[in-house]
């Protein structure tokens, strides 16, 4: 075919449009794909029915005469600023719950780390045990844990601290173990050969190697912990969640509005601090 020949023009060596080889995807795998779509659709329909989903109820709840935007919102404005200081004070308590539970959770997760990371664990059974304990702590929601701890510790913010700490050990423990499993092992092996003990290797090769990652993950969890602390507060854990629940029950929407403003400001501020610290750690 000459260089000047138009694209697609048949030359001496040209052949007809090539035949594509038959698709290799088997009928069986196509059937599996259709089956998977059918199962997902079935699950969605079941969930809608089981959760009593209702389009009418949704729009009524938001826009009807007694709905959110025509009844609750107008009764919430303007916010009652006389409740501002009380709201800030309670939010500080909620923040204290979040900070304490993060700190204790950090200690607990690091303490489990030598067992829970596959590449440094002294034995497979201990590794499995540590991972099972973490999975159980993760599986029990903080709210359910709190219900138990309220019985043990009474209606105090400390019960929320304990609940969030245990749940946090489960969550952070898994994240931390994964960070260690992905770390470079050369510094660890170098110290092992140098005769360092397991504890020394952990303290001087493993922990410094993943320190920034662990702190970044912890900061990432701080705002999540604050939001969880608000929720736990509503069921007896104290702080701003407790005040919001109380005032909602008393239909004091203007005060609730003030608390919501305080809550949003705190969450945004914590998110901002968390982002800044994580950016510095990753630098």
């Amino acid at each position: 075919m000459s260089i000047d020949a138009p694209i697609g023009a048949a030359g001496p060596g040209a052949t007809a449009t090539p035949r594509l080889p038959p698709r290799t995807r088997a009928t069986r795998s196509r059937l599996i794909a259709y089956g998977a779509v059918a199962v997902v659709l079935g699950l969605l329909i079941f969930s809608w029915i089981d959760a009593q989903g209702s389009v009418t109820q949704f729009f009524d709840g938001l826009f009807a005469r007694k709905g959110l935007f025509r009844d609750v919102v107008p009764h919430s404005l303007p916010p009652d600023l006389s409740a501002l200081w009380g709201g800030v004070r309670a939010a500080v308590t909620t923040l204290a719950i979040a900070i304490l539970s993060i700190a204790f959770g950090l200690i607990g997760a690091i303490a489990m780390l030598p067992l829970a990371a596959r590449n440094i664990t002294p034995s497979r059974p201990l590794y499995e045990l540590a991972r099972v304990v973490q999975a159980i702590l993760r599986a029990i929601p903080e709210l359910i844990m709190l219900l138990f701890f309220l019985i043990v510790f009474g209606f105090t913010p400390f019960a929320a601290v304990v609940a969030l700490t245990f749940h946090g050990i489960g969550v952070k423990g898994k994240l931390f173990a994964e960070a260690v499993e992905e770390m470079e092992m050369a510094p660890v092996e170098a110290l092992r050969v140098a005769g360092a003990s397991r504890i020394q290797v952990f303290l001087h090769a493993v922990l410094p190697g993943v320190r920034n990652t662990l702190l970044a993950l912890t900061m990432y969890r701080l705002d999540a912990n604050f939001r969880s602390a608000v929720t736990l507060g509503a069921v007896g854990g104290g702080g701003i969640g407790f005040l919001i629940d109380n005032e909602l029950n008393a239909f004091q929407f203007k005060i609730v509005c003030t608390y919501m403003i305080v809550l949003v400001v705190f969450v945004l501020a914590i998110e901002r601090v968390s982002t800044i610290v994580r950016a510095r750690l990753n630098a």
Partner: protein, 259 residues
């Protein structure tokens, strides 16, 4: 250097070590003796068993058969603390930089002496004994890195980091240095400097140095003995001036043909 229970024994004696990964026999019963004041270079193609030999020598891998005697102690017979204590006679310098990047060069070098510290003194780098810090400073001076003592390891160049890793081995007071492709990630100048340093540690400080290399020219220039490996066995073990170019070529040609 090195306390060495039996000073008269060669620091490292490997006898009939075999290692198999699944169907693949990586080491087919090799033996060697490494003497004090000697730099032994091991050459061979990828997968010929060089690094496996080095790892079996300090029981980072357990051999299927054979023994490795480090300063007179059979590592296969040891467990736990006694294995740790015996193993501190050897230091490994890896191809990839095995330093904790977030810590200073000095702190990394101090960690070479962890096995000689009590747990209480080794909990934090600030609690390290003064004599360990002094020894680390001397080690850094020995490798020409004293002026970088407080620099974070992560900010050092490849050649500088490898020197710090060697200083850590020096601070460990090891009798044997096992270097697994220590210059593979370095530019030619830095590679030359690191090899000069390893040779100097062998000749001036009396250490026994085994270096796995992929650069025949460096091996011939700096080593006292060159050991050629092919398919899990030793092809030759000679002084550099006795090694013929075709013998080195055969180490690699053979592998290509086998593939």
């Amino acid at each position: 250097m090195g306390s060495g229970a039996a000073a008269a024994d060669p620091p490292l004696v490997i006898e009939g070590i075999r290692k198999r990964f699944g169907e693949n026999e990586v080491l087919g019963g090799v033996s060697l003796t490494l003497r004090r004041g000697e730099l032994l270079a091991v050459l061979g193609g990828n997968g010929c068993g060089k690094s496996t030999l080095l790892r079996c020598a300090v029981r980072l891998l357990d051999p299927d058969a054979g023994s490795a005697r480090l300063c007179g102690q059979d590592l296969a017979a040891l467990r736990g603390r006694s294995l740790r204590m015996a193993r501190r006679e050897a230091a490994v310098v890896f191809q990839q930089i095995a330093l904790v990047k977030q810590r200073s060069a000095l702190e990394n070098v101090c960690c070479g002496a962890l096995a000689q510290m009590s747990l209480g003194r080794s909990l934090s780098t600030t609690a390290f004994p003064t004599e360990v810090r002094d020894r680390a400073a001397m080690a850094l001076q020995r490798v020409g890195m004293l002026d970088k003592a407080w620099q974070r390891a992560g900010t050092l160049s490849g050649g500088q980091a490898q020197r710090v890793a060697i200083a850590r081995a020096y601070c460990q007071q090891a009798t044997v240095i096992l270097a697994d492709e220590p210059v593979s990630a370095l530019d030619p100048r830095a590679a030359e400097e690191v090899m000069e340093l390893l040779a100097d540690l062998a000749h001036s400080d009396g250490l026994a140095v085994l270096a796995v290399l992929h650069q025949p020219e460096l091996a011939l220039r700096h080593a006292d003995r060159v050991l050629g490996m092919r398919l899990g066995a030793f092809a030759f073990d000679k002084r550099p001036d006795e090694v013929a170019p075709e013998e080195i070529e055969a180490l690699y040609v053979h592998l290509h043909e086998a593939a």
